[in-house]
Assembly symmetry: C2
Homo-oligomer: 124 residues x 2
């Protein structure tokens, strides 16, 4: 089976892709930025910076720290945070449906099994 993944680039160097969306989903599931980051093999610092960049990207925050702060207090998605996930997953679903025949044509053109990798280009 083929799987589509989307990246959406907005004006001003702002983008949403599978990593940020997955991080938001994990924050929702785990109630913690550090636990969500850990699940993705990310440092707390990196997860926090991604959340911070998402929060600054939108008119309102998508993740709210609960009192207790930083590591301790946990984090929850805001209504906008949940809406961002919903829109992204809806675009993904519609894209897969709308492109299914072309994706199928590409999949049908694939080799049965990929032969072993050539390691080097031909000599100049």
């Amino acid at each position: 089976m083929a799987r589509l993944t989307l990246r959406i680039d907005f004006d001003g160097d702002r983008a949403i892709g599978p990593g940020k969306i997955r991080l938001l989903e994990l924050i929702e599931a785990k109630g913690s930025i550090s636990a969500a980051g850990r699940e993705m093999g990310m440092s707390y610092r990196r997860a926090w910076l991604l959340v911070d960049s998402l929060n600054r990207c939108f008119r309102e925050p998508v993740v709210a720290a609960q009192t207790g702060g930083a590591h301790g207090g946990g984090a929850v998605l805001t209504g906008l945070g949940r809406a961002v996930i919903r829109h992204y997953r809806a675009i993904e679903e519609r894209a897969a449906a709308a492109g299914a025949d072309h994706v199928g044509a590409l999949a049908a053109a694939l080799a049965e099994a990929e032969p072993p990798e050539s390691k080097e280009p031909p000599l100049d």
Copy 2:
């Protein structure tokens, strides 16, 4: 304006995304793997390896070296190579159309201007 970019993952760790498609388009335009790679800031070796991986990924080659070989002889897209580009760009176009309202909703939720970046997470 928002712009969608697609990555398609197939079975067996095979994927097509914007970089490989752009490389194919540039090979078609320039008739040369090295010139296409150069345009993307890639070494000849890296461009060649990407083309090789694409050629092995499909039932038939997508790029054919013209006689003269390697650097010298140039390269052309096969019919399948042109079809791969066409399918990919068609999926992209349909995805953008099918997801337009959700993309619009995300774009409408963006901040007017992004405030300056926070450099560090809060102290633990």
